[in-house]
């Protein structure tokens, strides 16, 4: 049975899926189901473009499941702009600064390492990690010259705890310094540089001194009747600097106060002629 | 006290009743001189208390005749009444024109300042003349009693005649004093005749013995009578003395009585009494009971005296120029508004200021563009006067040691429109250290205030010997620092004026004499004030430098202003020649020393000693070593003393 006629008839019922006459071929990013037409706008037929996009989609490999036939979209190729701004550079820790200075480069290490004792992989640190520093040893030799009655396990745990504490302190110090530095030298941070930590340290010291002074003076008389110690901290007030009373050339003072006066009287608009404005108006009138 | 008050009250009433008649009689005599002459006997008010007492007991027509004077001797409580009476008379007699004079004269207690139209030349009368007259009257008054008016007039005429003949001021005083004494003697004789109902009728006054009960008597009438008698005796001691009683007996009794009557403590009474002759002393004490007239000074920075007078007259104030000697002073007799709160006062057109405090500034005579220091300036009367004379050029350093008083000082300086003043709060003795090199310095030194007892009667009792010693020491220190603060090289200046409102010699001549001794680089110059009494060149046991006669004294009973003292120095060199001079400096000393004899001697001595003194380095070395060793030893000795004592004990 020749069905070509039937097919042709059936085909006649539908419009053609082929699109003709594109000067510049259309680009597709099927991952985003998008097509980009570079042709002049007045020549673009939206229906045609949609047709082209659909044609492309229908060429994709398909899978069929209960929901029906699905086209497998490729990964998108178009670069989209970032939604959030770029993260600011973190202030360097002391170690980072040191490493940079010495040219030490950080190497990536595996998280899991092979444990010879148990014959399996174990995390390098953390829960069930291998960094027990010998606290898990079943026997420990008493070191030479140490107290035989001392618990060596406890000693090792203690040593570890100290190391951890010290590290935490360093972290804390790095954080504090970062905060102070942020206050101190925004410009340096803005350039991505590390601010001068000497300043930061001085500032921290001063803050601390202030706290000490305040707590010292926190008596009923606000420190009035308390005897200070020798060479003790003394409250340093704000030292204001004023212009000297007598200078060789007093005309400077006069001209300064004149300029201030000009601003003030100008603000009230009294008697003051704004020469620029008047000239402009005059020119306008002439034109 | 009570008795005294009651009598004076009675008198004042009588006066009030009788006052109109003699004044009206005077109205007819319209020429100035005659009116004044007639007024003069009426105007004596000083011995009024004495007369008042008599008049009260014997109210004859004489009381009325004498009643022209205001009862200015009344206590402060009464004085208001009396004044108001006087003022009342004034305001009534405003229409009567010339009549005013008498009232005022009486109110002013003996000072005859001419009341004229408010012209620029209203200063018709010579002050010197009035001065004389006042004194004459005062002396006359005291002795006064039963003299007829004719006699008095004759005397007055005599005085005037002598005055007009003799134009020399200095001689005038002496002559008038002689005349006064003559008049006094005459008056005493006359008085003695008329004393009929006095307790002591006898010509010879019997001095009460020490154990006499009347010593304890507080009856002021008795005391007063005794005072008068003793004065009478002392004035003619040879004739009137009783038996062999010595002069000092009389005087000690008189002092006691005066203390009792006027309420001074004995120390002060003795101090003041010896400054004056006996009868003048009593005038002085009497004058201290009477308030001085209110005077104001025109602020020439803001107005002129004529304009100010006109403005105040428009407010109903009754005023007059203070005298010929001041072109800025006005005397206020009576005011319907408080004189210290008129808009003119607040606008700084005048300053309430005692007449006496014009004097030091007039003596200082600051010139424009000078730098002047007022060492004790609060409340600023003198400082602002200086600024007015400087016409706001140059600068005035107004210092006062009392910080609280500087507020009033600053207020006055601003109110009077002084723009070149620096007010500071130092002890005056710090002064050349703070800033020196002034053209002129005014030192109105803190003093006992014996010249202003009429203002502050507490002085009578609260000043002791220590106070006077301390004050005079302070004054001596101050006068030296004042002298050191002046730049002798100043083109226009180099003057120091020292003044006090005290009449005591220890605070005045003594201090000035001390300054002359300590600073041979200054000399006294004339104060430029053409009136006032010369300063003492000798007082009791003390002898001062002869130039002290260039200083001036002012007394309440004589000049109708507070007791005051003014001395003016001129600084000749900035170098203070030391006492022991080397030969090189000796010439300078001779050149500048006002005390020529002494300095000659001292410089001679210096010359004599000079060759003997030689320096030998080796010898000195040994001496220095010895003294150092001695010093160490003594120090050690102090350290080792407990040891030594322990050794010595056993």
């Amino acid at each position: 049975m020749d069905v070509s006629e039937v097919l042709a008839a059936h085909k006649q019922k539908f419009k053609s899926v082929t699109v003709e006459g594109k000067l510049i071929p259309v680009d597709y990013d099927l991952g985003l189901i998008a097509a980009y037409d570079q042709n002049p706008v007045d020549e673009i037929e939206l229906k045609d473009n949609a047709q082209l996009l659909l044609n492309e989609i229908f060429q994709l490999p398909t899978v069929s499941d209960d929901n029906g036939i699905m086209a497998m979209l490729p990964t998108p190729t178009t670069q989209l702009p970032r939604e959030k701004p770029l993260p600011k550079p973190k202030p360097e820790t002391r170690w980072e600064k040191f490493a940079k200075a010495k040219g030490i480069v950080k190497r990536k290490k595996e998280r899991m390492v092979f444990d010879d004792n148990s014959g399996e992989y174990k995390p390098r640190w953390g829960y069930k990690g291998i960094n027990d520093d010998g606290t898990k040893d079943w026997i420990i030799e008493v070191p030479q010259g140490s107290n035989p009655m001392e618990d060596q396990y406890e000693a090792r745990r203690e040593a570890k705890r100290e190391r951890v504490d010290r590290n935490e302190k360093r972290q804390q110090r790095n954080l504090e310094e970062a905060v102070v530095a942020a206050k101190m030298d925004q410009r340096a941070i803005g350039r991505g540089q590390r601010p001068n930590m000497d300043n930061a340290r001085a500032m921290k010291r001063k803050e601390l001194e202030n706290q000490i002074l305040i707590s010292k003076a926190a008596t009923a008389s606000a420190g009035k009747f308390d005897k200070g110690l020798k060479d003790d901290l003394k409250a340093r007030g704000v030292r204001r600097q004023f212009a000297p009373n007598v200078v060789a050339d007093m005309s400077n003072e006069k001209s300064e106060s004149m300029s201030i006066l000009n601003k003030i009287v100008g603000k009230n608009g009294e008697d003051l002629v704004n020469v620029r404005k008047v000239e402009a108006r005059h020119k306008k009138a002439q034109m | 006290m009570a008795g005294r008050q009651s009598t004076t009250k009675k008198v004042s009433k009588q006066q009030a009743n009788a006052s109109s008649s003699p004044k009206k009689a005077n109205v007819s005599n319209n020429t100035n001189s005659s009116a004044k002459r007639k007024a003069a006997p009426l105007s004596d008010s000083t011995p009024k208390r004495a007369k008042g007492g008599k008049a009260a007991s014997k109210p004859t027509g004489k009381a009325g005749a004498k009643a022209g004077k205001a009862s200015a001797n009344a206590d402060s409580s009464e004085s208001e009444d009396d004044e108001s009476w006087a003022y009342g008379a004034v305001s009534q007699s405003d229409s009567e024109g010339e009549d005013m004079e008498d009232d005022f004269v009486s109110a002013e207690e003996g000072s005859d300042i001419e009341v004229g139209q408010l012209d620029d030349d209203f200063l018709g009368d010579e002050f010197a003349e009035s001065d004389e007259e006042a004194k004459g009257e005062g002396a006359d008054m005291f002795a006064s009693g039963g003299e007829s008016e004719d006699e008095e007039e004759e005397e007055e005429e005599d005085i005037f005649a002598s005055n007009s003949e003799d134009s020399d001021d200095d001689d005038m005083e002496a002559k008038s004093r002689k005349l006064d004494e003559a008049a006094k003697a005459q008056a005493e004789a006359a008085e003695a005749e008329l004393q009929t109902n006095m307790a002591l009728e006898d010509d010879k006054f019997v001095l009460p013995g020490d154990d006499h009960e009347s010593l304890q008597s507080t009856d002021l009438q008795v005391v007063l009578a005794r005072i008068q008698e003793i004065v009478r005796v002392l004035n003619n001691f040879r004739d009137l003395r009783e038996g062999n009683r010595s002069r000092s007996d009389y005087i000690s009794q008189l002092l006691k009585d005066l203390c009792l009557y006027y309420g001074y403590n004995e120390y002060l009474m003795e101090k003041l009494f010896y400054i004056f002759p006996v009868s003048e002393a009593i005038e002085f004490f009497e004058a201290n009971e009477v308030p001085r007239p209110v005077t104001i000074r025109t602020n020439t920075l803001k107005t002129r005296r004529r304009e100010l007078a006109q403005a105040l007259i428009n407010r109903g104030v009754n005023l007059d120029p203070i005298g010929k000697w001041s072109k800025v002073g006005l005397q206020v007799f009576d005011s319907p508004v408080p004189i210290g709160a008129t808009p003119e006062y607040l606008a700084g057109h005048y300053m309430l200021q005692a007449a006496s405090s014009f004097l030091p500034v007039m003596a200082l005579a600051p010139q424009e563009h000078e730098r002047v220091l007022d060492m004790a300036s609060a409340p600023g009367g003198k400082s602002t006067y200086i600024a007015a004379l400087l016409k706001n050029t140059g600068m005035v350093f107004a210092n006062d040691a009392n910080k609280d008083r500087t507020k009033a000082l600053v207020a006055n300086i601003h109110r009077l429109g002084v723009k070149n003043a620096v007010v500071c709060n130092y002890d005056g003795r710090e002064f050349p250290g703070v800033i020196g090199g002034f053209d002129r310095v005014l030192l109105d030194a803190p003093c006992s205030g014996t010249g202003v007892i009429s203002k502050d009667a507490s002085v009578k009792t609260n000043k002791s010997e220590q106070d006077f010693q301390m004050l005079s020491q302070l004054q001596k220190q101050l006068v030296l620092s004042a002298i050191d603060s002046v730049d002798a090289g100043s083109a226009t200046g180099g003057y120091i004026v020292y003044s006090t409102c005290s009449v005591v010699v220890e605070e005045n001549e003594d201090v000035v004499n001390y300054a002359l001794r300590k600073r041979p680089n200054v000399k006294l110059v004339s104060t430029g004030l053409d009136f006032g009494k010369e300063g003492f060149t000798r007082y009791r046991e003390k002898t001062f430098h002869p130039t002290l006669s260039l200083t001036r004294r002012y007394y309440p009973h004589m000049h109708n202003m507070d007791g005051f003292y003014v001395a003016k120095f001129k600084k000749l060199s900035n170098k203070i020649p030391a006492k022991k001079e080397t030969e090189a400096d000796a010439d300078d000393v001779e050149e500048f020393t006002p005390i020529s004899e002494d300095s000659d001697k001292s410089s001679d001595k210096a010359k004599a000693k000079a060759p003997k003194v030689t320096f030998n380095a080796d010898e000195d070395e040994g001496l220095i070593r010895a003294s150092r060793a001695k010093l160490l030893q003594t120090q050690k000795g102090i350290k080792l003393r407990p040891k030594k004592s322990s050794e010595s004990k056993p």
Partner: protein, 180 residues
């Protein structure tokens, strides 16, 4: 004693300009002598340079006053003109009010000026303008601030306040303790 800082000068001039406007120039730049403003114990003094230089010898604690006090800075940093500057601002005043003799005493006791007491007013004085108060004899008595403009004043009741009191020479007596 020290010169004023910029902000202080600004505050001070703003207040002064309410009374004498641009005439402050004449205070700063005088023909005869150099004058300057100096701050001492919160008070602003107007003083000639010579006097100021000499006054530097006086210690801070001992110096009480120099030249003419113009007013003081309050604790909140505002400036308050004192009556002591009346001489100067009266000299350069732009707007003036003359009061009748019967209005003098009420004003000198610190009261506002009512319309009935006004003798003369400078023409075209705006509202809230600093004015100098004179007696009819041309004696400056103080200063104030207008409550109404000159034209509005005409319609007012005689008892209505026309000038608000700011300072008067009666303060020399009333406020001697606090003024200096």
């Amino acid at each position: 004693m020290r010169p004023l800082t910029e902000t202080e000068t600004k505050t001070f001039f703003e207040k002064l300009a309410k009374y004498i406007g641009r005439n402050i120039t004449h205070l700063i730049d005088r023909g005869d002598e150099t004058f300057c403003f100096r701050l001492h114990r919160d008070r602003v003094y107007y003083v000639s340079e010579d006097v100021m230089k000499r006054a530097t010898n006086v210690g801070r604690d001992q110096l009480i006053s120099i030249g003419v006090c113009f007013g003081k800075f309050t604790k909140t940093g505002k400036f308050r003109l004192h009556v002591t500057c009346l001489d100067y601002i009266a000299q350069y005043a732009k707007h003036k009010v003359w009061i009748k003799p019967n209005g003098e005493m009420p004003f000198l006791y610190g009261n506002h000026i009512v319309k009935a007491h006004i003798g003369r007013v400078t023409e075209d004085t705006p509202e809230h303008q600093g004015v100098i108060v004179y007696s009819m004899t041309d004696v400056p008595l103080g200063f104030g601030v207008t409550a109404r403009s000159t034209s509005d004043t005409r319609k007012l009741q005689p008892t209505a306040i026309v000038v608000f009191h700011q300072a008067d020479i009666g303060e020399y007596l009333r406020q001697e303790d606090t003024l200096f």
